[in-house]
């Protein structure tokens, strides 16, 4: 009996604990694993987790940039922030900006991708032309836009006047400034979406379209609804998520063109964070805004994990 037991499980010593040899090799394996992970872990700690943790801690203090002393003030920063009218204006502006930019840039990206895909010639030309805004430095482009939007001799207003429409003060009219920035944001973003949609379109099997034709889907719209749109599901979700995150991060155009004005009409979350942190040097408060921003991005990521990963069809 004892023999067969030993034959079946030679590991078990008479006392029931694993022998010393086994424990040492387990420890060695653990050390090997740790040392292989160490470079990646270190980088993650230094560049990702560390800064996030530092910002979280900073948001609980009254640190001012360059001051030699600081102290913990708990959630006072948060209380101040949520009571600040400017913060709420900034947040609603950002959300409005996202609400304009995301649908328009996704729709435009999809539209141009469909048009380019339908052509047999000059595809390369059109893809490049629409992708250039994505690659160009946004700050330089923003300065160009500033001149185009000039109330007197800007290109936009000259064109408007040429067709008889009234010239507008695009960047100094509080009602127009955010939509104008949204247009620039769409212009900058839709080329990227277009490229992603093109990749998705190419991967749709041709025989699905043929089956749709045989089944009676005669118009381009019914083929789109039956085949293209469902097959683009995962790509669309991804594009929406990326567009949302990138439009949340809007900063360059605001900083160059409007500096948050006129009277906070174009104040956005990241710009508020910048001005609190680097113009007023209230680093604690800036960190608080950063935490709020992080919260929104996390929310978007959770939504993605919930919805995108469930509804994918291959």
């Amino acid at each position: 009996m004892a023999d067969s037991a030993a034959a079946l499980s030679p590991v078990r010593a008479s006392s029931g604990a694993p022998p010393l040899r086994m424990r040492l090799s387990a420890i060695k394996r653990g050390l090997a694993t740790l040392s292989l992970l160490l470079p990646a872990l270190t980088l993650m700690l230094l560049l990702l987790i560390g800064p996030v943790a530092a910002v979280l801690v900073m948001s609980l203090t009254d640190y001012q940039l360059g001051s030699p002393t600081w102290s913990f003030i708990g959630v006072q920063n948060y209380v101040d922030l949520f009571g600040d009218r400017v913060f709420w204006r900034s947040l609603s502006n950002t959300l409005l900006y996202v609400a304009i930019v995301v649908p328009v840039s996704v729709a435009l990206g999809l539209g141009t991708a469909l048009l380019i895909e339908a052509r047999s010639s000059l595809q390369f030309f059109y893809r490049s032309v629409f992708f250039i805004p994505v690659m160009a430095t946004l700050i330089a482009m923003a300065i160009s836009w500033e001149y185009m939007l000039h109330p007197q001799f800007g290109l936009i207003n000259l064109m408007f006047k040429a067709v008889g429409l009234p010239a507008r003060a695009w960047l100094s009219d509080p009602a127009l400034v955010l939509p104008t920035l949204a247009v620039i944001g769409v212009w900058q973003l839709f080329g990227f979406n277009m490229v992603l949609f093109l990749a998705g379109l190419v991967s749709i099997p041709q025989h699905l379209y043929e089956a749709a034709e045989m089944d009676g889907a005669r118009s381009a719209w019914s083929r789109f609804r039956l085949v293209t749109w469902p097959m683009l599901g995962p790509v669309t979700m991804f594009v929406v998520l990326i567009s949302a995150i990138r439009s949340f991060q809007v900063f360059d155009t605001v900083h160059v063109l409007t500096k948050g004005g006129p009277s906070k009409a174009s104040e956005v979350l990241l710009y508020t964070m910048y001005s609190e942190g680097f113009e007023f040097f209230r680093s604690g408060l800036a960190a608080t805004i950063a935490v709020v921003f992080l919260g929104f991005v996390l929310l978007l990521t959770l939504l993605k994990a919930r919805f995108i990963d469930k509804r994918v069809h291959y």
């Binding site: 043929e210 089944d215 009676g216 005669r218 069809h313």
Partner: protein, 386 residues
């Protein structure tokens, strides 16, 4: 009534002629197979009939009317694709219902939420549910209606594809190698099912395949295509027993027909491997010919009496039959002889064997491959030097 007529169909891609003037008459309700090796143009021809491709010249008539330029949806045909082409995001029920919804409902009635506000949608949906249910029952799919294609096996997906074709009540079914993606056993089973389905529905089936066994077992007629042309059309028996071209004889039938070089001498007398045969050309002619003999037409004989001598190189036991591979000088390729179960057990590899055949089973083809009829002479074989 929907007979299909193809008149001088030509198709050119860039500078390559894929179809070189195809004429074909397909009777209403018949099961016709388009068979041929890969690249012969059979799928292109099917797509031209369907309307998915436009022919370069020539006309297609369905039910007596020319359908050139008519879009596929309006031709009232149904197609089963090699890859089934099921909509991955729709359930089996919705997949089968797609053609009905496209035809019976307007675009607004198909819009997601709006449709329920419109009158007539509910009644149409009920009708669709009924018709889809009938087809599902016919094909044994009732239990699978809620599943998505990704959750089905290959055979089940194929049945859904067939169901989607049936539900439209089309004038003709076009099937593009539907069994190619299935494993061997399932393929054999589905051959019977498709043949039975054809009998049940009584609609024209136009079936494209590269597998000659499928064509032979299911069709009323076979059209053999090679290099963009129809080489022969006929019943399976005609194609098998009376091939009009060497390529047809080689393509149809498994294992492949054995082909020997022979001479037609004075008076059209055939000489094979130096031995004169009691066969004479039915029409005047002479020169090099090729004799085709099917494996089952050959049999073993003592070497002294055999027409062809060789050595056994390999014996394949398939259970129900035995295939012998014989190396002989008369043929560059090994000769394959088919024997019944259990035969030739005592012949060892490398042993000399003799092969003989009934003269009537010989198929003669001229130097370019065209069939040349033969006539048996009553004269017995002369001595070797005679």
């Amino acid at each position: 009534m929907a007979p299909v007529r193809l008149r001088d169909i030509r198709k050119r891609f860039d500078r390559i002629d894929v179809l070189k003037g195809v004429d074909l008459d397909i009777a209403d309700g018949e099961f016709i197979s388009l068979v041929g090796p890969s690249g012969c143009g059979k799928s292109t021809l099917l797509r031209i009939i369907a309307g998915l491709e436009r022919q370069t010249s020539g006309s297609v008539e369905i039910g007596g009317e020319t359908v050139d330029g008519v879009p596929p949806a309006a031709r009232n045909l149904a197609m089963v694709f090699q890859s089934y082409a099921l909509y991955p995001h729709l359930s089996v029920f919705d997949n089968i219902a797609v053609p009905l919804r496209m035809r019976r409902m307007s675009a607004l009635q198909r819009a997601p939420l709006l449709r329920w506000l419109l009158p007539g949608t509910r009644a149409a949906e009920r009708g669709i549910r009924e018709d889809t249910g009938k087809v599902a029952e016919l094909l044994g799919l009732e239990a699978l209606l809620a599943r998505k294609p990704a959750q089905l096996s290959g055979g089940q997906r194929q049945r859904v594809a067939v169901g989607r074709a049936i539900v439209r009540d089309p004038r003709a079914f076009l099937l593009d190698e539907p069994l190619s993606n299935l494993d061997a056993k399932l393929r054999v089973h589905m051959r019977t099912e498709i043949a039975q389905l054809h009998r049940r529905l009584g609609v024209t089936f136009i079936y494209v395949t590269h597998d000659q066994a499928e064509a032979m077992t299911m069709s009323d007629r076979i059209a053999v295509m090679m290099d963009g042309d129809i080489v022969q059309v006929g019943t399976p028996e005609e194609i098998y027993d009376d091939p009009q071209h060497l390529r047809v004889a080689e393509f149809i039938g498994s294992p492949k027909t054995n082909v020997f070089d022979a001479e037609a001498g004075a008076g059209g007398r055939i000489t094979l491997a130096g031995r004169p045969l009691p066969l004479v050309l039915a029409r005047p002619g002479s020169g090099k010919v090729r004799i085709g003999l099917r494996p089952e037409a050959l049999s073993l004989a003592p070497v002294s009496e055999a027409i062809i001598e060789g050595r056994l190189s390999h014996r394949e036991n398939l259970g129900a039959e035995v295939l012998l591979h014989i190396e002989a000088t008369a043929s560059p390729q090994p000769i394959i002889v088919r024997l019944d179960h259990g035969k030739a057990r005592t012949v060892a590899p490398g042993a000399p064997v003799g092969v003989t055949f009934a003269p009537a089973s010989a198929l003669c083809f001229d130097a370019v491959g065209r069939r040349f009829p033969l006539v048996e002479t009553a004269v017995l074989r002369e001595a070797v030097n005679g």
